[in-house]
Symmetry: C2
Subunit: 304 residues, 2 copies
């Protein structure tokens, strides 16, 4: 019975520089962040892309952890090779067996500091609930999106993304670095409490459940024909109702949200998502009861 | 005696997408912006880089207009070839002889909407003064910087940069597009007034004169060792005095401005300048008398 080993990853996207910068400073000065006697590892996800300040070289690393890619020996994309390498070093069956992976990202969207979980894995929801109860992080539950697969953290029994923004790609920003640091410190403290059986789990958790992503209006040639409406720009997490402006054309024409449900846009105008045909994602805010199963699942990871 | 032909350039840097987007919409809908019967041309500076959403392929196009590059037949950088092509089509001795060039840029710095002029060319200062009197644009006078040469607009008898920010690279933003449009419309109106001899020149102009650029604190290995202090981030145009915080290290150490003069930082934390070893530039705010020579110079361009 041993506490789990925990992997922290920064720079999974090479143009998201703030967390890698913090990691490098932390390596130079190990006292910078208190690890609370936990067994942690930290790794730069995509060092080659980071050097070039590009999101990726061949393929998005955070979509490269699909089993059919990892198991296909002919698949030689740099990022798929790197996914295999990270797993062989820090995967649940790797050299240093980690059970939890936390992947630090930044975004050009005004997401603040938030948690992204992929699917409804009980252990992920347990920790996300703890972090929300502690410091109010909103939680974006990404699920049911067949166009997007192979996220890094899904290769570990427990894992989630911490997403911070807005910050331009390729730019260091003191506030964003502090947000990363706070998220790291809080996570480490909650893990330490879990290991010491000092955790009190909350009764409720607010979840923003992924409903769908929507693309920019485009010309017949695929060019972006309207931009995010100023009322939507930087208003991630603010609900919209039928008729709310979504996009605006150069001639002033407004494209509006049409739907009966009150939904909540997130990742509004994330620079890297235009190539994925995503202008924003729409979520539904729900308050869930904290499930005993989640507590059991995280305790199984902590006290195997 | 004919009014000058005027060249508007967008996308000189391929990851500054807002002005090119506006140009494309304007081409599709020529009524979008009133050209006031002026003879204008518009061109995308670096279409290949724009397609790749990169600042440049081989070399910064806005540093490629150095005579020694343009005249050196062995110099085959894409951007130098492109500089030659733009000059052959729209240069003062080109196929379509333009006398004025306006180059639209965006920045990750919080520069608002402003004008950059290179050196103290009388005609540039005349138009910059008119635009400032009309709509309050601050003016950054870039001069005496031996490390930076070959700016595009210097190849025309009159020309300046309109710089708008903050906006991340590679991102369309409705407000930034509107700022571009306003700057274009105001410029066209002032040119039309000049052509119709209806201009009243101001008596004074406020200039932010370039003093020096400063780099990030760096480790012996060249790595950025401290980031822009939160009090400086997004506070372009706000003066600093001796002791003002400039940078902060991960351990909280603050690096301060040391100098007797009150100076005004601009281009604070522009993402593209880290590779040029510029964290910010320092300027001195001065109020100059409007010179009769400037009026003569711009009238010579308008009434040859």
């Amino acid at each position: 019975m041993a506490n789990p080993q925990i992997l922290f990853i920064a720079g999974t996207h090479g143009n998201e520089m703030n967390a890698p910068w913090l990691f490098n400073q932390w390596i130079k000065n190990p006292d910078l962040i208190n690890v609370n006697d936990l067994d942690i590892f930290k790794v730069i996800g995509n060092p080659k892309a980071l050097k070039d300040c590009k999101r990726y070289l061949d393929f998005d690393l955070n979509r490269s952890f699909r089993k059919e890619f990892l198991n296909d020996e002919k698949m030689k994309f740099y990022e798929v090779e790197r996914a295999r390498e990270i797993l062989s070093k820090f995967g649940p069956k790797g050299l240093n067996k980690c059970q939890i992976a936390i992947d630090l990202h930044s975004t050009t969207s005004a997401m603040g500091s938030c948690i992204v979980v992929y699917g409804r894995r009980p252990a992920d929801l347990a920790i996300a609930s703890l972090l929300q109860a502690r410091i109010g992080f909103p939680i974006y539950l990404h699920e049911g999106d067949d166009n997007q697969k192979g996220f890094l953290v899904e290769s570990w029994p427990c894992g989630f993304v911490i997403e911070i923004g807005p910050v331009p790609q390729g730019l260091l920003n003191a506030q964003v670095i502090n947000q990363n640091r706070l998220a790291l410190e809080i996570s480490l403290q909650e893990f330490a409490k879990l290991g010491a059986k000092k955790t009190t789990f909350p009764k409720k958790v607010a979840i923003h459940r992924h409903i769908k992503s929507i693309d920019f209006p485009r010309s017949p040639f695929g060019e972006i024909d309207a931009v995010v409406h100023p009322l939507r720009q930087c208003s991630d997490w603010n609900p919209i109702e039928n008729g709310a402006p979504l996009f605006i054309k150069a001639d002033g024409t407004i494209i509006r949200y049409e739907g009966k449900e009150k939904l909540v846009p997130v990742f509004i105008n994330e620079a890297a998502y235009a190539e994925k045909n995503i202008a924003m994602s729409l979520t539904k805010r729900e308050v869930w009861d904290f499930s005993k199963d989640w507590e059991i699942a995280i305790n199984e990871i902590f006290f195997r």
